[in-house]
């Protein structure tokens, strides 16, 4: 494995009571890339994130993060190694302020104890939350909650950010904002794996695109090539438009 591959997935499968949610998936994510994972609902995208973050143990296969096999490692250990996740259903801590939410990301992430405040502030800045710093999370709109989710993940200083449908439910302006945030996150040093349904956004932001269908990886490549792939059009784009 070359040094500039941050995540290498080899033959990973996971079933739930006979249902194969992820089947024999292999691919590599180059460091510094923005890589989109697309596929219809139920294709196994969130399950795949659950496997990488240690929430589930794969039935078989290896997940190499920076050269280390993290398949089956505990979520706490995976987080400390530098993998952060923004959930599909935003899960900020509702009783806490925006700053406190982001601070928890920083406290338990990889920033030194003296840098917690600085990292908290810069993550809020990056996600455009500076003005909302003293709002309670329960006061935020859907769009703001998603930015908070991403800010909290980024405050951990991850080298790999897994963002699960960060644009779902956002209007076009908010979607554009989120795309800009993810770009800034990448420019600040994180590799981004993104699950997204908004095809224009995917085409605009991605370096590579992976297509899952019924748990299997059916195509991968540059966005333009994926958009022309007949299998992808049949499996996914065709059913959507």
């Amino acid at each position: 494995m070359s040094a500039d591959v941050i995540l290498a997935v080899r033959g990973v499968s996971k079933s739930f009571r006979g249902l194969k949610a992820v089947r024999d998936v292999s691919f590599e994510v180059p460091r510094g890339a923005i890589c989109s994972l697309i596929g219809p609902n139920g294709a196994g995208k969130s399950t795949f994130f659950n496997l990488v973050t240690g929430y589930f143990r794969p039935d078989s296969g290896t997940i190499l993060f920076e050269g280390r096999d993290i398949a089956g490692a505990s979520p706490v250990d995976v987080a400390h190694l530098g993998v952060a996740r923004a959930f599909q259903i935003a899960k900020p801590f509702p009783g806490m302020s925006v700053t406190e939410n982001v601070r928890i990301g920083a406290l338990f992430g990889r920033a030194g104890p003296r840098d917690v405040e600085a990292v908290t502030q810069s993550a809020m800045q990056l996600a455009g939350l500076a003005e909302l710093h003293d709002r309670e999370a329960r006061e935020l709109t859907v769009g703001q909650l998603r930015r908070l989710e991403v800010a909290r993940a980024l405050a951990a200083r991850p080298s790999l950010l897994l963002a699960d449908e960060p644009c779902a439910g956002l209007n076009p302006t908010e979607t554009a904002e989120m795309v800009a945030i993810l770009r800034r996150a990448r420019d600040a040093g994180a590799t981004v794996v993104l699950v997204e349904h908004d095809m224009p956004a995917v085409m605009e932001i991605s370096d590579t695109v992976l297509v899952l269908e019924a748990g299997a990886l059916i195509a991968q490549g540059a966005p333009q090539a994926i958009a022309r792939d007949p299998r992808v059009i049949a499996a996914y784009l065709g059913t959507e438009e």
């Binding site: 009783g95 406190e100 601070r103 928890i104 338990f108 104890p113 003293d134 006061e139």
Partner: protein, 329 residues
Amino acid sequence: MKLFVSGRSAWVSIAITLAGALLFALLPAFLSPYGVRVGQLFVLAAGLAVAWTVLGGFSGYWSFGNAAFVGTGAFVAALIELALPGWSPAGAFTVALLAAMLLNGLLALVIAWPILRLRGIYFAIAMLGVSQVCYELVSNIDALRGALGVNLIDIVPKDVRPERFYYWALLLAATAIILIAICVRHSKLGYGLLAIREDEDTARMLGVPTAPYKISAFVISAMLTAMMGVIYAHNLGYITANSVFRNEFNLNVIVYSLLGGMGTIIGPIVGAGVMTYVTQVLLGDLLDIHMFITGLLLAILVLAAPNGLYGIYDTYRLRLKRQKREAGR
């Protein structure tokens, strides 16, 4: 290593606590002996409730069995004093107190591993079971003298009135508990516990080491509860299993938080104050129906203010903040 994550609010809370404790320390000068005894009940209740909050309020793991630590603390202290006959009262008490706290810390550590894996109501019930088991053991093993009862040494100095002495002793212990709770709340541990309370799986994915954090909070909570139990036992002077493993201790600590504000430090203190005032002063003469009225009041309060008195204040504060923001636009 920085002690506090949010330093300023921690120091403000510490200053308020010290000022409040000082004020309360002066109260006996203005109170009748009966008033001082009501004061004892209040500081005992507040101390126990804040000790409970370190685990229950912060992390959301509600223990229904903290009487286990009150009772075990009391009996460990009593039996140790029994074993140190020639010692000065101060010396024996100090050893007994430290041993009781240490042993309860160990007890919590041992039971934490299996039962803190249980979530929600299962943990609560398991703790109820633990307090029942401790009660049965102390009652039924003759050497532990739970059925027969045991005397504690007299530690009241000659020239101090006993009710005042115990008021101050309980106040000192409660103040220590509150200060420790503030330190926990504003440290990295406290932030981790709050994250666990909000959503344990998310906390793990953010890198919060949930198991060691829950165990730490549990051990701290048990040791602080035992400290209160030891002083309470000396105040009683003579204890049986029935007098210290009281179901009231299991339930009231939760009621105080529900009433004042779950998860906060001020909440259980206010809740303990309100409940003590209502049961001892307002309804003090109506002993027959006082449990009935207390229950009724509680039901009404919990229905009217599900987040406690602090919840009412918090809603008001949020609304003010929003109004100010909108006015600023």
